[in-house]
Symmetry: C2
Subunit: 197 residues, 2 copies
DNA sequence: CCTACCGATCGGTAGG
DNA sequence: CCTACCGATCGGTAGG
């Protein structure tokens, strides 16, 4: 019977929030998973909201770091795009519970905290906009493409993987990112031939 | 002050379930939106679970019908793929609350009902598998592509649109499906040139 | 981290 | 559709 740290509580909370949702997880549920009573959690944390805040912040920091790294890169746009795709998938796979909580439960944060997360995600999206835009300027990507729309579609595709990708499944993250690379690569290319559609 | 029908209750429930989640919506919340008390809802419905069951079933029926229509089609694979994409987007846009509840809250159904929904979605996915597989056999799509993975990626992309697509936004569903068509079209083509990645 | 609680809110019912 | 409830569960606190 080992003692639980605050980090243990947050980690387990992220799993339960991902699996059963923030509102579907009671403090007694969470305590039960850690082998203690719900009321005992309050020696580690101040409130249930605080748990969600911490999980979302941790996840947000991951995406923030990726955005910073890619923004600092001087590689050609398609390579930076692959860095984003690969890095984004890595974040989702490394801590799927944290990522799912970020993606699905951020809306349940208190308003001020939610705004911070939304702004951070906007900034993250801008990294995609920049890469796509640079790719157009350099002739890699179609100029006809709506930059915001393309970014939204790519992010949708990436975030959706949390719904079906399993780390112990038949595919590894390399398979998935390679397939996405091909899918996006050809689809984003300036020279393309659309057939049949 | 008009009376509410059972259909009104379900429709409003789908909106609240989409916005605040199943567990984040109380019967008193729902009653409040309809101008009555939470307890008064029970003259229209039997339980809160029943509301979720009904919303999910309605949405599931939409996807079921699309799958049946496309399965009955004898068009070339790329055209059927576009029917799926366009039809799927139409369902999401026509009733975004219902669709979001289907996508996000199905997991909170009672086990037996959840299994039904999962099976139905599996069947829906198989429609994508068939189209992709046919497209490979007919030489439209790369044979190297993993059919299940491609279907998952396409569905991720489509379902993710519920997070950002707004019916009154600058883009209409035609813009979005056209962009997706180009993205998928070239990316799925058997003749392609990957550059830079 | 537990014991022993608290007021608030939950889904739901009986009866009109 | 309301009045008047019900037992269960919620997030959280005081004190050890």
């Amino acid at each position: 019977m080992k003692r639980n740290s605050r980090a243990d509580v947050i980690e387990t909370a992220s799993r339960l929030f991902a699996e059963k949702g923030f509102h579907g997880t009671s403090m007694r549920d969470l305590g039960g998973e850690l082998g203690l009573l719900g009321s005992s959690l309050y020696s580690h944390i101040g409130s249930k909201n605080e748990l969600l805040v911490d999980v979302v912040r941790q996840s947000a920091a991951m995406f923030q770091k990726l955005a910073d790294d890619v923004s600092a890169s001087v590689e050609p746009a398609p390579k930076r795009m692959f860095q984003l795709v690969r890095g984004h998938l890595n974040i989702l796979v490394n801590d799927p519970y944290q990522a799912q909580t970020f993606l699905n439960e951020t809306r349940f944060l208190p308003p001020n905290e939610r705004e911070i997360a939304v702004k951070l995600f906007d900034h993250y999206q801008k990294t995609f906009h920049k890469v796509i835009s640079d790719g157009q300027d350099a002739g890699f990507y179609r100029n006809s493409m709506d930059v915001h729309l393309a970014a939204n579609l790519i992010l949708s595709l990436l975030n959706g993987t949390t719904r079906w990708f399993r780390d112990n499944g038949p595919l590894d993250i390399g398979d998935v990112s390679a397939e996405i690379a091909v899918l996006l690569g050809s689809g984003l290319s300036s020279s393309k031939s659309i057939k049949g559609l």
